[in-house]
Amino acid sequence: GESQPFNQDSLQQRLQGLIDNARDSWTYGIFWQSSAVDYTSPSFLGWGDGYYKGEINKQKTTTSVSSLAEQEHRKKVLRELNSLISGTQMPENEAVDEEVTDTEWFFLISMTQSFVNGSGLPGQAMFSNQPVWIAGRERLLASQCERARQGEGFGLQTIVCIPSTNGVLELGSTELIFQSSDLMNEARVLFNFSY
């Protein structure tokens, strides 16, 4: 189909639509947006938008292996982030009582990441214009990419990066999900933007 105009609200709708309607249980989706103006310019991939769905059938006792100190650190950061954006909607100093799960934390720290000149999983997918689909903890651990190994450390079993015209769609899951051409085709159509 034709490319759709890009804006962040439509990007969020596409991420939600793809993940909520998928046959498989994806924990999150992130669109890494390319900074490239044309094919000859150097580029990096930065945060475009993300949608965190969470884990299906989450068992509190098994989802997190983080220590008490690590949990305190995560809660402190979440409290600070709540305060940061409370100027608009969130109440000030809102308590963060619930455990910050490993996948929530992985999603949050992803907001600070970017990938330069074909580096990292999303960068490799963009550079080669080929999807990267890593299913299985051993395969994630054996990856050359730090992000794959980091994801495994936070409980992911599957990470997928699908390149499109203006960036890369990354999906991650705590479930073992094998390659699906339907998903890749849908993602390529949904995330083919024009500016």
Binding site: L84, T88, Q89, M90, D97, E98, L108, M111
Partner: protein, 31 residues
Amino acid sequence: NKDLPLSRKKSLRRFLEKRKERQVSASPYAY
């Protein structure tokens, strides 16, 4: 910090709001 780009602020706000909704719906006092 205050220099957080707008796209990340929006993503962050959405993430925190959804997290709160999930906690409320999971609470034993929700129903």
